[in-house]
């Protein structure tokens, strides 16, 4: 009965979605019929799965129902320049739109129950981009840290910035330290921003720290294990260091040196939309996709 319901709604969604996609994206309909339909789909599939659990051949209780929402979502914000090119705008406009979208999406994400959000804002390889683009990006970071600080404090979101801080300008560094200090006591919601971050650099600095500890006699070489490594990586600032879901927009299927160690068991999602177009509807889609994954971690289900 309920599967019939969900089939009917899926058809409705299809006939509304496809024309909707062709209509200009400037019509932003926040809580539209499509989103409501999607929400129904998510709950319907949850119900279906639980029914199938009871009827399962071995009668085993599957734990999937418990881990429905990802605790840690990582996002690679790709596609700002292509978005601007498509509209005949400059690269800085693309990054502006991307930053605006970022704040909106972060609010939605936290509202839906995610604990930690990580953003790949600036990679170590991005220093090679043209100088004015890099300057524009740094200015954007400063502007948004200043303007969003009251929102972070109001909603009690802890901000952590990870990455190599040696090349960042002093003003930005001061702002970062200010924001981190002001929000460090908040729990339950965390926004990790990766500026001048590289997955390999992260593992290397953790390795160096471990080597110093061994040299100073604090630990033995045999004590170096996965837990020791996790306690040295930059994501140690979070309660959930390993992302459950990694979203990279713009259709490129690469991790580009973002979380390497941490994404060992992360579900990777590659939607084709460009980052400034990634809104609530697309995020709901990603969540639906995530909830249908069977995560086995190498064992049998």
């Amino acid at each position: 009965m309920l599967s019939l319901f969900s089939v009917v709604f899926t058809f409705l969604a299809l006939f509304l979605l496809i024309p909707g996609l062709f209509i200009s994206r400037r019509l932003r309909v926040p809580f539209s019929l499509e989103n409501i339909i999607r929400f129904f789909k998510i709950t319907a599939s949850k119900y279906d799965d639980e029914r199938n659990d009871e009827r399962g051949p071995m009668g085993e209780k599957k734990k999937r129902a418990k881990n429905r929402m990802p605790k840690h979502v990582a996002v690679i914000l790709d596609g700002n320049r292509r978005w601007a090119e498509k509209r005949g705008l400059g690269t800085s406009d693309g990054h502006e739109a991307g930053a605006k979208r970022l704040m909106e999406n972060a609010k939605d994400c936290f509202a839906m129950g995610t604990n930690t959000i990580s953003l790949f804002a600036f990679s170590t390889e991005n220093w090679e981009r043209p100088e004015d683009e890099v300057k524009c990006l740094m200015a954007l970071f400063e502007k948004h840290f200043k303007s969003e600080m009251p929102y972070f404090q109001r909603d009690k979101i802890r901000i952590s910035v990870i990455g190599n801080r040696s090349k960042i300008s002093r003003s930005l560094l001061g702002l970062i330290e200010e924001v981190e200090e002001a929000t460090k006591s908040y729990e339950g919601k965390q926004l990790i921003i990766a500026i001048d971050y590289s997955g390999r650099f992260d593992i290397l600095q953790a390795c160096k720290n471990l080597a110093m500890k061994v040299k100073d006699g604090l630990i033995q070489v045999e004590d170096i294990d996965e837990k020791a490594m996790e306690n040295e990586l930059m994501t140690k600032c979070s309660e959930f260091p390993n992302p459950d879901l990694l979203i990279r927009t713009s259709g490129e299927q690469r991790i580009s040196n973002f979380f390497l160690w941490q994404s060992a068991y992360t579900e990777l999602y590659f939607p084709n939309v460009l980052w400034p177009d990634f809104g609530e509807a697309e995020y709901l889609e990603a969540l639906t996709w995530y909830q249908q994954r069977q995560r086995r971690f190498g064992k049998r289900v």
């Binding site: 290397l204 160096k208 061994v214 299927q253 160690w261 995560r295």
Partner: protein, 296 residues
Amino acid sequence: MAELPGQIQRMNGGINQLLEQIFGFSRRCLFRVISMGPIPNHLAFIMDGNRRYAKKCGLEEGSGHKAGFSALMLMLQYCYELGIQYVTIYAFSIDNFRRQPEEVQSLMDLMLEKIKSLLEKESIVHQYGIRVYFIGNLALLNDQVRAAAEKVMKATAKNSRVVLLICIAYNSTDEILQAVKKSCINKLDNIEASGSCKHEDTDSDIEAKDMENQEKKIQLVDIEENMQMSVAPNPDILIRSSGETRLSNFLLWQTGNSQLCSPAALWPEIGLRHLVWAILNFQRSHSYLEKRKKQL
């Protein structure tokens, strides 16, 4: 009349052979066309979906893996014909030891049988001149499998046309940890060795002391050298069958800039079209990536 079935069978066999020849020829033509563009140097496979395939076809438990092995041989043949030099496969993860003991045992038996078959004269290894490496924490395997693996590595050490890296009892986090431990030990040994021959502090020695301090710190090259996968360059494409898009602790360090493909087909169903599609996608983004690499 009794000869008729035999004749029909022979005709069938002949037709099959002819069809195979035609397919082989058209496949090689297709590969020639694809080779006009850039071809990846290193391909990695996560062979996922064997058990689901066995369930789907109603076969018994272990035969999914056997079907997977035949698919693997087919893929290796295609890779060889295309001219791909390095192929890595994810045969058995350290997490897989946590499966049911009967399944682990049957997997170990299958692997022992297949590893031993690599030593035979007619095997694919000698036919294509493949050098085989076994990557992973081999101490976790039972003695027979480990001995067979070491024998194969020794026997194929002289081959150089294609390199096959089989990841067995492998976890990327384990590989990184082993590399870190080795780098720590090496550095400690270096420090001890240089500490035993003291030199005086003069102005001209300050530069030498700086270099020495630099040598005492662990650099990126130290970790990379000590990785077991350093015998091959980083993979250009990582293909995971069965549609799952996760890395499952495979080559985390090396796939930072690799193209990730996840065809929906289960591993025993994987075929030529998936490989061709992956390579075409690779060629699409290749020029952009090369530009980025040159900038670095």
